[in-house]
Symmetry: C2
Subunit: 163 residues, 2 copies
DNA sequence: TCCAAAAATGCAACTCTGTTGCACGGTGTT
DNA sequence: AACACCGTGCAACAGAGTTGCATTTTTGGA
């Protein structure tokens, strides 16, 4: 997937909302392949959302997305994210703010088998939620008869950009 | 605080909602002292809510509380919990269900200074959230320039009663 | 003891997030 | 071309959390 981000540096045409870019034909083709690989039919909307997620290195909320795609409907974006989560393209993050965030899965992420086990960081200043994929959640030893299935660990504080 | 729980075994008079008990005069006096120790003025409502929390060994939501105190208003219970959190009587738990839960602080809990650092467990079957005060969150090593202030760790799975 | 101030309570209303139902429209298939 | 299917957009709704305001209760001082 890193290759695609590099492709993202190709010539862009600004259109619609200031935050929305349509990349080159090559980029679009690459994003299409990502969708098809995960068995998601590549519609225009989905390509734009996927591209948007690629440009962000922080987790975004449904409302963030809504504000970036003024033309589109909240429901459509909601269902697009839902589709992406179910197809293991993005993972849903509970960062303790009460608002779900979404971020692209890593290439080796195996959502269907195990939940993502990395740490998330929420900055109390800039309010952004950041995935720390290299920081795995340490093993937790539970009392007898407690059977763990998922683990969520969120650290709150000041991020690298705000400190 | 353990002493107070023992006092809770004293003779009780059932009144109002099935889940609400008024304990003995001695128990009420003890609960009053708990409130006063944390600089919260002991009203009837607060005593009942505090007693309710003592009877529960799981974290409760505002709606749980509302359903147990049919006579009272959601807003009052909301503000009661808020007061309790601010006074370091209870801590607020984000268990990832999207609904805040509340549980009594431990005796040695120092909410003002540091957030509670124990693990929470949410059972996917009985939907209850349990504090595991003896299971502290292991140290998390963050990338440079990330300054941690709070940590939240929730394990989901099957609890000891459901397994 | 009584009164005034302060605090707590109860009611109504509202915001925001998440969600569902339904109708419309485009796309692909036979 | 007809059809089914899927995605999209609109409307509406549920639930949690929250706030404003009027009323009641409690507290503290005269």
């Amino acid at each position: 997937m890193a290759a695609i981000i590099v492709l993202g540096n190709s010539k862009r045409i600004r259109l619609g909302s200031p935050n929305v870019f349509i990349g080159s034909f090559v980029l679009m083709k690459a994003l299409e392949k990502v969708l098809e690989r995960n068995k998601v039919r590549p519609t225009a909307m989905r390509l734009l959302v996927l591209q948007y997620l690629f440009t962000k290195n922080v987790a975004v909320s449904l409302t963030d997305l809504e504000n970036s795609f003024e033309k589109s409907d909240r429901t459509t974006l909601y269902r697009t994210l839902k589709t992406f989560v179910e197809s293991c393209l993005v993972h849903k993050i509970d960062d303790g703010t009460g608002v779900s965030k979404y971020a692209l899965c890593e290439e080796n992420c195996n959502c269907e088998i195990e939940t993502d086990l990395h740490v998330h960081f929420h900055c109390n200043l800039c309010k952004q939620t950041i995935c720390l994929p290299k920081h795995k959640i340490p093993a937790i030893y539970l009392p007898k008869a407690f059977l763990p299935q998922e683990v969520n660990l969120v650290v709150k504080g000041t991020c690298n950009k705000c400190s």
